[in-house]
């Protein structure tokens, strides 16, 4: 049974380039109106400064009861707008959506919390804002307090709460909503690792109870573990929908594919000097499981070709790998060899199960006589490694820059004496 049917929904925003200030004032309205009057109804001059922007364009889908749908896409792809339309915060410009069942949407943790009010008062307030009846809140009051771990501060105004407590309380209330359809936006990205684990666990319970969930998150690990279906949005359009693993992989490959290979056919444009000049630079992942994105298991080869213009030069290639935050993870170099004029190729193998998930940057240097840097290319290639886990029920960020699989054994050596 389809619980949500969306037909051709589109949402248009008018961007006013002239009036960037928030709100707009009556003065602006008067001047616009008078311009319109005096230009004899010609609207074009006014429209010049306004631009249409389609946050959603002709989106169609059906969601079955019990589906857990993850929505992925870049920032500005229309994910949040879609959730806003489905939670009725904003109306679609065209099209319609039919929803059968009680909907609760959680676009923010602690919506409507009032800083002056106590934890207790805010539970009732926030619960009501999210659509719970007073009776339902009373029924789950203890469970909420327990989940959030704020017993001792129930009668303290929430403005005195730490940000962690605030978020925990907000999530706890939302977690005890019992709607048939739950719409969640990126709220799991808050709180510490322990709390994230707890809230993901709660989400999993909710999903296993047969309720329908729509879930937007940049935490693809969470999407993959929670959702059985996924929608991929780009530029306001629903580009693809289907099985989560497939959609996530499509999404990731579109994100990273473009920057993994550089080939300079036109020598005059290639980076380099009169002594050496790059021809090509490729990062070649050996994708696992028929996926088309790099995850922590994926072995990769970095292949670099360059032209050497001088005979009998001793050259070697040095490569730095940086984390996106700037720290150097390692620096490796080839052996130095003597080359004559011509094309030189260097290949570096980066094993799978070595780097942790994250974004990385590679820089290259061509070195002469093991000391003189002939040419260096900063940020030659940027790539992302996605998370992959097996047999773990923890979805927080795995710490560290590397994630090697070392031989780490564990076994029972002795039974408890006299047992």
């Amino acid at each position: 049974m389809s619980v949500i049917v969306a037909e051709n929904i589109s949402k248009r925003y008018i961007i006013d380039h002239k009036n960037q200030r928030s709100g707009g004032t009556i003065r602006d309205w008067f001047s616009d109106t008078s311009k319109r009057l005096f230009s004899g109804g010609k609207k074009d001059r006014l429209l010049e400064s306004k631009e249409e922007f389609w946050a959603l364009k002709d989106v169609n889908f059906e969601i079955e009861q019990g589906d857990r749908v993850g929505i992925v896409g870049h920032n500005g792809a229309g994910k949040s707008t879609l959730l806003k339309v489905l939670s009725r915060i904003t109306e679609p410009t065209t099209g319609r959506v039919n929803i059968s069942g009680r909907v609760a949407s959680l676009l923010e943790v602690g919506t409507g919390f009032h800083p002056e009010l106590t934890g207790r008062e805010n539970i009732y307030l926030n619960g009501a804002v999210l659509g719970m009846t007073q009776h339902e809140i009373k029924k789950s009051f203890d469970a909420i307090v327990d989940f959030a771990g704020v017993e001792r501060f129930l009668d303290t105004p929430v403005k005195r709460y730490s940000s962690g407590m605030y978020v925990r309380l907000g999530f706890a209330i939302a977690a005890h909503l019992e709607p048939e359809i739950l719409i969640v936006d990126e709220v799991l990205a808050v709180g510490d690792a322990e709390f994230q684990k707890k809230s993901l666990g709660k989400m999993r319970d909710v999903s296993e109870s047969g309720r329908t969930i729509l879930f937007v998150s940049h935490n693809l690990t969470a999407v993959q573990s929670l959702c059985n279906k996924a929608f991929y949005f780009e530029k306001g359009q629903l580009l693809e929908q289907g099985d989560t693993t497939h959609i996530v992989s499509t999404y990731l490959s579109r994100v990273s594919r473009k920057s993994l290979e550089h080939v300079w056919d036109d020598l005059s444009r290639a980076p380099g000097t009169n002594e050496v000049r790059l021809k090509s630079l490729r990062l070649l992942p050996d994708y696992q499981d028929n996926l088309s994105h790099i995850d922590v298991r994926t072995p990769m080869r970095l292949a670099c070709e360059f032209w050497n213009y001088e005979d009998n030069t001793t050259l070697n290639l040095s490569m730095h790998l940086y984390a996106y935050t700037g720290e150097c993870i390692f620096n490796v170099g080839t052996k130095a060899k003597s080359f004559s004029k011509g094309l030189v190729e260097a290949v570096c193998e980066i094993p799978g199960n070595f780097l942790n998930d994250g974004s990385y940057v590679i820089s290259l240097m061509v070195v002469k006589n093991t000391s003189e840097v002939l040419f260096s290319l900063e940020e030659a290639i940027t790539f992302d490694i996605q998370d992959y886990r097996e047999g773990v029920s923890w979805y927080g960020k795995w710490p560290g820059y590397i994630r090697p699989q070392l031989n780490f054994s564990i076994s029972q050596t002795e039974p408890v004496p006299n047992d």
Binding site: G24, T25, R27, I89, T93, S100, Y124, G131
Partner: protein, 276 residues
């Protein structure tokens, strides 16, 4: 509560009013929130609802009765006339101002959850209502104990005037609430309007004093005049001046304002989120 919802541009009116009814608990909770927040962080708490009208009464009595030598209606003590005027005017202006600001003050809710937006102006009334009740009790105490002036039998009409005051304030406030979202300078205009109102309405003076002037017919057009005069007439009896003709403008203006504002608000509310 489970039912089918259709989301499309311009939803149906019937569904909207049904939704509003289903959210009545939220209305109650938001009202309670406003009241408890108002008295939470103040040193004197509820005392403010007593101090403010009392201080205004004293200042106005000195300024207009002692200094400017304005005369009250025959048989009515001047301070009592002023206090009655202030009590009903404060109710009107508080209600009006709070409704006008209700959407912008709750912008965080507008951006993150759905409920019929009419809940916000409706719940904004609560604080003004509580303040009025306190001020009203204060008025009765001063009237009976201070001046030995028992409320007249006209008091049976009091609910009528209070409801009319509410409708008038709501009709105007709702329009301003919707416009305030789009044009923030409305926020500047409202205190100014209230300041003009306190002199344009017969609060420190009696309507009788302007009854013979050339602008009396315009005075009667002011929809708040009958509210103030009527309120005093209920409490102070037939000694208080009350021209029944002033009621026509109030009823017509408030009915038109109410109908127009609700339809304007309904038309604009779906786009509030885009302007906040």
């Amino acid at each position: 509560m489970a039912r089918n919802i259709t989301i499309k541009a311009g939803g149906s009116a019937k569904e909207y009013w049904l939704d509003l009814w289903e959210h009545r608990q939220l209305l109650w909770i938001l009202s309670k929130r406003d009241i408890s927040v108002r008295y939470k962080q103040t040193l004197l708490g509820v005392a403010w609802s007593v101090i403010r009208p009392l201080a205004t009464m004293i200042v106005m009595t000195i300024a207009f009765s002692v200094v400017a030598r304005l005369r009250p209606d025959t048989g009515v003590p001047y301070p009592l006339m002023v206090l009655g005027g202030i009590t009903i005017w404060t109710f009107f202006s508080n209600t009006f101002v709070q409704i006008s600001n209700s959407i912008t003050l709750n912008s965080n809710l507008v951006a993150k959850v759905y409920f019929p937006r009419l809940i916000m102006p409706l719940s904004a009334v609560s604080v003004g209502l509580v303040d009025f009740l306190i001020a009203f009790v204060l008025y009765l105490l001063i009237s009976v104990i201070g001046y030995g002036y028992l409320p007249s039998s006209n008091i049976v009409f009091l609910p009528f005037f209070l409801i009319l005051t509410f409708i008038t304030a709501f009709g105007f406030g709702l329009f301003f609430a919707a416009v305030n979202v789009r044009f923030r300078d409305i926020g500047q205009l409202i205190p100014f309007l209230m300041q003009v109102g306190i002199y344009a309405c017969p609060i420190a003076y009696s309507s009788q004093m302007v009854a013979d002037t050339w602008f009396y017919k315009y005075h009667l057009l002011n929809p708040v005049v009958s509210l103030v005069d009527g309120f005093r007439w209920c409490l102070l009896g037939n000694n208080a001046y009350f021209d029944h003709r002033s009621l026509y403008s109030t009823i017509i203006v408030s009915a038109v304002a109410m109908i127009f504002s609700i339809s304007y608000f309904r038309k604009k509310e779906s786009s509030f989120v885009d302007h906040l």
